[in-house]
Chain length 288, copies 4
Amino acid sequence: MPALKRTAILLISCPDRPGLVSSVSTFIGNHKGNIVYLDQHVDEENGAFFMRIEWEMDGFELSEEQLNSKFNLEIASESEMTWQLHYNDQPPRAAIFVTKEGHCLYDLLSRHESGELNIQIPLIISNHDSLKQVADRFGIPFHQFSINKENKADQESAEISVLKEHNVDTVILARYMQILSDNFVNHFPNQIINIHHSFLPAFAGARPYHQAYQRGVKLIGATSHYVTADLDEGPIIAQDVIRVTHRESLSDFIRHGRDLEKIVLSRGVWAHSQRKVLVLKNKTVVFS
Amino acid sequence: MPALKRTAILLISCPDRPGLVSSVSTFIGNHKGNIVYLDQHVDEENGAFFMRIEWEMDGFELSEEQLNSKFNLEIASESEMTWQLHYNDQPPRAAIFVTKEGHCLYDLLSRHESGELNIQIPLIISNHDSLKQVADRFGIPFHQFSINKENKADQESAEISVLKEHNVDTVILARYMQILSDNFVNHFPNQIINIHHSFLPAFAGARPYHQAYQRGVKLIGATSHYVTADLDEGPIIAQDVIRVTHRESLSDFIRHGRDLEKIVLSRGVWAHSQRKVLVLKNKTVVFS
Amino acid sequence: MPALKRTAILLISCPDRPGLVSSVSTFIGNHKGNIVYLDQHVDEENGAFFMRIEWEMDGFELSEEQLNSKFNLEIASESEMTWQLHYNDQPPRAAIFVTKEGHCLYDLLSRHESGELNIQIPLIISNHDSLKQVADRFGIPFHQFSINKENKADQESAEISVLKEHNVDTVILARYMQILSDNFVNHFPNQIINIHHSFLPAFAGARPYHQAYQRGVKLIGATSHYVTADLDEGPIIAQDVIRVTHRESLSDFIRHGRDLEKIVLSRGVWAHSQRKVLVLKNKTVVFS
Amino acid sequence: MPALKRTAILLISCPDRPGLVSSVSTFIGNHKGNIVYLDQHVDEENGAFFMRIEWEMDGFELSEEQLNSKFNLEIASESEMTWQLHYNDQPPRAAIFVTKEGHCLYDLLSRHESGELNIQIPLIISNHDSLKQVADRFGIPFHQFSINKENKADQESAEISVLKEHNVDTVILARYMQILSDNFVNHFPNQIINIHHSFLPAFAGARPYHQAYQRGVKLIGATSHYVTADLDEGPIIAQDVIRVTHRESLSDFIRHGRDLEKIVLSRGVWAHSQRKVLVLKNKTVVFS
């Protein structure tokens, strides 16, 4: 793989009005930024405008600081923009949370190792020790925080401290079988990605494959979403399903489901890592 | 298409025990039935056995009456079998119920006309007159029963009378926008096929595309199922989904959804018409 | 359905360069056009830029003639643009070509009748009389042109005359079982939409389901594409597949395939009718 | 996971005739085998019968040797059966062949480690050293055989020796970028599973994603198949596709394709490991 050129990525959301694409792209162009990606979306229902624009820093006239202040002054403030600026060489720093099932963890780590996922993984956190050896194999620090009713608040505080210490900005719940408290969630708004093993909103909550099997559905699914205070209700990033018949047993559901979980979680993490996801209320725009 | 050979189709369900396949197939074979289809399924959880066996009547030694009594006496009674006997030249007699949207109706009628669907359609029933011209084009009697709160029970009774008069044994709800009473449903147990425009159990009830759009799902679906007294809770026969993104508007959901509805309803009706569906509790076995 | 507002649709392709989106959208905006759709695509490999922009004519300051000349003068010529201008109240005038199988025809006609497809269908052409009654039911003129080796050139000339007479700009091959001559194809460049019953490029040519069955594939597909002089080699607009197993017979392939053909052809026709398809070399951009 | 009960698995193919299911299942039953799985298939075109039957060895009256001889004598010979007998505690011994890309290897190894894949993996073979560290992490011996035109025959002979030495009966080509000679293939008939990164028969041969990108397809796929002397022409075990649009670049094709390759290869290996695949001519029966 050739070395990637350094780029800046600007994510914008604001009330829709004419001329937004033009004003932003002209601003970048005027400062000699070579635009390599531009996509936008208008949510008609909410009158909301979303945009992702990426350009090469090589030859761009503004420093990071100048870019921040000038863009704010000249473009963002008059259009009431909410905006984030990222650089492709400053990828998300993600902690992976796991419990006992390793398929999503392996999948993420092998994608990371191959360079497919542009993230840094400073640590893995678990409430069990089952997957420590997987972390060891990949040389990633493994932190165990056993959780029970009594210690949950304290352990979460300890986790948050470790995460802050490692400058973690993204939490990936790779089949982590604990419900995070509202307090924890509030520390990472739209930064915690969960995989739920059903096509939400069907079969929210515990044991979705069992629920699906009891209901006799002909499709099973998986959903990756940002975690909010409402369990399994956060903005959906990716979903997929596969077909099942009466021939599939519950254990077949679970086996096929693992494939879905891996793929759907990694799609969510990939989009997040590429700075391609914007959230409005409880919905996502996922640029392609 | 060549003329089909006359066949008998036997559908069996009973408690699982060894030797069931052998005893049934030996019975047919001993009476010189040439078996052209045999499939069976064991539901491990419920200890239940299901079987579909089809054989040519040409050369078969038993008359329909003899078959009924001998099979019952020699095979079915000792294994506590529930069984149905059908003949491929006595297809289901189906009434199609519609309201205003014609896509499923057109789809069913054109499949019927091409010979794809082995059903008879003695009549179409609607609570509106919008689709009368479609019925007229295909030369199928159209009966209108306007429904309101006051007349619902009476109109349903009148509908039931008409259905019985026409020896209807199958009711297809092809986007019929009225909820059938329990009384009506009880007249046609596992004989009413509905199309619901979501991947149930998600988005049961009214306006599922609106619900799906609000929730921000990345897949929309459709479900065909037998109607029971519990709305949208009956045994699922077929389901399918298609992918959507933030680019699709609510009207795109509805447009794509029509394709799903047509296909998924017709799959359900096809399986039913081929006598390939068996029901246990709230789940189906759909033989291929 | 509410009456649609009158809109203009501009389709552009040209060599990629900075500022294209900005210059076009500014031009429309300056003349008080309210933009309701804007999407663009850059084909990196070919350095090609594609754009679809749609705006309301209500309040727009330029007449159709003024728009043509001014856009050409001020924008298009300097950027070497190839462009088309359409209006949503001047939909494609499409002739549907059929042979004996009616499923795609019924599907198109019922979509047309429901208002889903914004096209006019002045006539149906066939080399057989089998589907005349379908045309009659929908009140659409049916023209039969029997084709054999001897008369093919003459019959095609006659067809072209009829098509020109009816101002037909789009030809839909809805399971038309004749190969069009190069001469015919050249009269309608990227205006003839065919449905091929395989996932091209697999199983081009005759009897694709038989080929698929012999090869033992686990998926069957359908492809809608523009027709070019090279059989089954034209630019692909839409494709889809469904899963099959060893249980499916050849006739099951054909039955499932009909569903694919209907859906995939109508997706192609819909995109074409919405002026959402642009062609570069042998590939399409299909805006969403 | 509870300890699995020991079972025997019998795979049968023979000319179709009445009574085959009955005679085999009666034979097992008479010797007190508790049947836990029975599926059969009739290939009408070839008049061929296929069956997979599995029963618990606990309580079964025949030893392995007695079973072999008695089944042959009493059942198999008179029906001209080709048959294989397997035991679930004697899983396939598989060598994984790789080159530089690790996604399929990681996927197989993590499935193996979690117990999902009932295979033994005595060694990994590669023509490069890139993935040695992956083998090391999982503690599996890694053998490197560099291949060039001059040494190919010798190196393959050496590979075959190593495989025989380790009692390998299954070869998994997990993105192995060398073409095996006919001689090698003939040592492992229907025992070499390859993953090809297209929906065969489209895009056989080299660089299928490049071919797909050039052709402008709207779906990309992957195929797992048994390797025969004809490159990419062997019996297909599993296939899957995902949708792409003009927005996806070639590198997106490759990235999405890796997910397909992992899933489709593992489905093929799973079915093979469960002794669920039977081959007739160039097609497979894959029992569910």
